[in-house]
């Protein structure tokens, strides 16, 4: 990344605790336009919590978030969406009992000039965006409960990209998918990257992260282990960071936590 560029997002010194347990302790990450940052770590490392702070689902105890270099206030998911931050949650966060268009536009419905729901326009827009992601998709009128795992995932992805996201958070986007659909999601990530969208990718699959990410940020027990350029490290070194918290011997590592707590 060009060092003179302003980061799309900077999360600085984020603290989150739930009833005295620290879920995130003084974590700092940044993301540049057209970049994929892989966020990895074991269960309970704090990566999902960190991203939920950015998407407005959790409010941090302290810390700052900068979007385009400006201090941003994100109190709820609406604030985040207004800043162009979209999230694909691991649980997908779909309302199972309503159809794909209703889910796509949940909270951002298209209204007619009389202020009523314009279901037809929403269905048309849904057909358009779904056509791009999955041309075979047909269940526009069925509750999403009746769709397959892959189709549901596509609905969740469609919801995130339809509203011109600039920052995309993907929490385990391929966990529920078969090989063909996984390949599709990978292609999509590469395409979105070309469009200049910044992507935080949370994944258990080290292979996925190596394939897609430009930089890799490792968290362990609520703290940052460090951030490395993908090209500087191999898989074993990253695994060492995840499991043992040991830093690679040769690759340069940035770590605000270590710098702040010598």
């Amino acid at each position: 990344m060009a060092p003179d560029q302003t980061p799309l997002v900077e999360m600085r010194n984020i603290f989150v605790s739930f009833g005295g347990v620290h879920a995130v302790e003084d974590a700092t990450v940044d993301l540049y336009p057209g970049e994929v940052v892989g966020l990895v770590g074991g269960n309970g490392a704090g990566k999902s919590t960190m991203m939920k702070v950015l998407s407005g689902a959790y409010r941090p105890d302290s810390g700052e978030i900068y979007v385009d270099g400006k201090l941003a206030t994100i109190h709820n998911p609406r604030d985040a969406k207004a800043l162009g931050i979209e999230t694909i949650y691991q649980t997908l966060a779909l309302a199972d009992n309503v159809d794909a268009p209703a889910n796509l536009f949940l909270g951002r419905e298209i209204l007619t000039r009389w202020g009523t729901l314009d279901d037809i326009a929403m269905e048309a827009a849904t057909r358009k965006v779904m056509g791009r992601l999955n041309p075979l998709f047909k269940g526009f009128k069925t509750p999403v409960k009746a769709l397959s795992g892959g189709q549901r995932q596509t609905v969740a992805i469609a919801r995130a990209i339809h509203f011109n996201a600039r920052i995309l958070i993907m929490d385990e986007p391929t966990a529920a998918l078969g090989p063909a659909e996984t390949a599709q999601v990978r292609d999509l990530i590469k395409q979105l990257k070309k469009e200049g969208i910044g992507i935080f990718l949370i994944s258990h699959e080290i292979r996925d992260v190596f394939d897609l990410a430009d930089r890799i940020t490792v968290m362990k027990t609520a703290r940052m282990v460090g951030t490395v350029n993908k090209d500087d490290v191999n898989e074993d070194e990253v695994l060492g960071m995840i499991i043992g918290g040991t830093l690679p011997k040769t690759a340069p590592v940035t770590n605000a936590y270590v710098e702040a707590h010598p």
């Binding site: 966060a93 199972d96 309503v98 209703a102 729901l117």
Partner: protein
Amino acid sequence: MVEAATAQQRRDARFGFFQTFMRATEIDTRLLGMIIALAVIWVGFHFQSGGVFLTPRNLWNLSVQTSTVAVMATGMVLVIVSRNIDLSVGSLMGFLGMVMGAVQARFIPLPEYLGLGFDQPYTWIVTLAVGMALGAAIGALHGTIIAFFEIPAFIVTLGGLLIWRGAAWWVASGQTIAPLDSTFQLLGGGAHGSIGATMSWIVGGLICVGIIATIISGRSQRRRFQFPLRPLWAEFVLVGVGCAAVLGAVAVVNSYPWPVGIARRYAEANNIPWPEGGLIIPTGIAIPVLIAIGVAMVMTFIANRTRFGRYVFALGGNPEAAELGGINTRWVIVKIFIVMGILCAISAAIATARLNASTNALGVLTELYVIAAAVIGGSSFAGGIGTVPGAILGALIMQSLQSGMVLMRIDAPMQNIVVGIVLVLAVGLDTIYRRRAT
């Protein structure tokens, strides 16, 4: 597009006539099942009761009796869809009925209060406005406690059930307030509280025009975005069946004449000579039924066509998803209970007007009938599922059972047993049906 159409036809050919018909008309199979169940109940009671069930008089009475529960059941759908419950509606109805009685028969007319005299032209509307405003305020209170203090709706409204029943007593220290304002009484139906033959035909005609307009606008909307259209014959079937049902219902209530006593008094008051075969004045649609129809249309619109309605369903389906979608779920819940409170006031007005008296026992156990109507009508306590027309049909089924058993002279304890069994059976069948469907 052409290939898709032929594929569709090939698939249709494999299914029988029934599936083709259901797919083309897009009729909800559940709703159709309920209509069939209702038809079976009606025909069964007709023969069991010696031919008195399917008479204009009984059906007219049935329509009036159903309206109180039907009005509240439409609101209960939203409450249940959002994974809540409201046990207080019967008590709240009793309390609001007492307040509305006190406003119209004491507070407005009596000299020790406002002293404006009885039977003023504005009395009924002021009374109704006070009732609805108070209902909305109490609903807002319930909703706020449930949404913001996160006390379960079951507990809050169980408290409400006790509190508002007690409050109903306090309004007039347990006295019954009667008689009520002469205009207000019309809200309860009866010969005078019905709109007569001509107006009934006009209302029926307007509803038919509405049905046709809905179908046409739906068709042109779908064409605008080049979506597949329903086959033309299916549209005609829908219009035909809908209009026939509406006009048939009007014909039935119009063939119910005023009771002889009322007609005779009317003839005497207007100096009409009493004819040989008696004076036949068609009753027509009762005003409470008209109110219930209006409420049903408004509530269907709210549930299906507004953002609020969409949020109620989304929040019932997955509260977390609704929250992450940026929906202010707490405020949605407060609004649901406000709507419920207003509907309680409307039902209270109908019920007190029909009795021509406000009593503090009004609406005892009604909450259970309202909940049963919504649940028989397909609302699921798991949340996210329910329809307003279903709840109306549910109310009609409950009332038909009760009315039919009265006609068959089945005693009250047995009636309760039957209604209880039907409730469990209906929900049981529905659960099995849903498990198969998915």
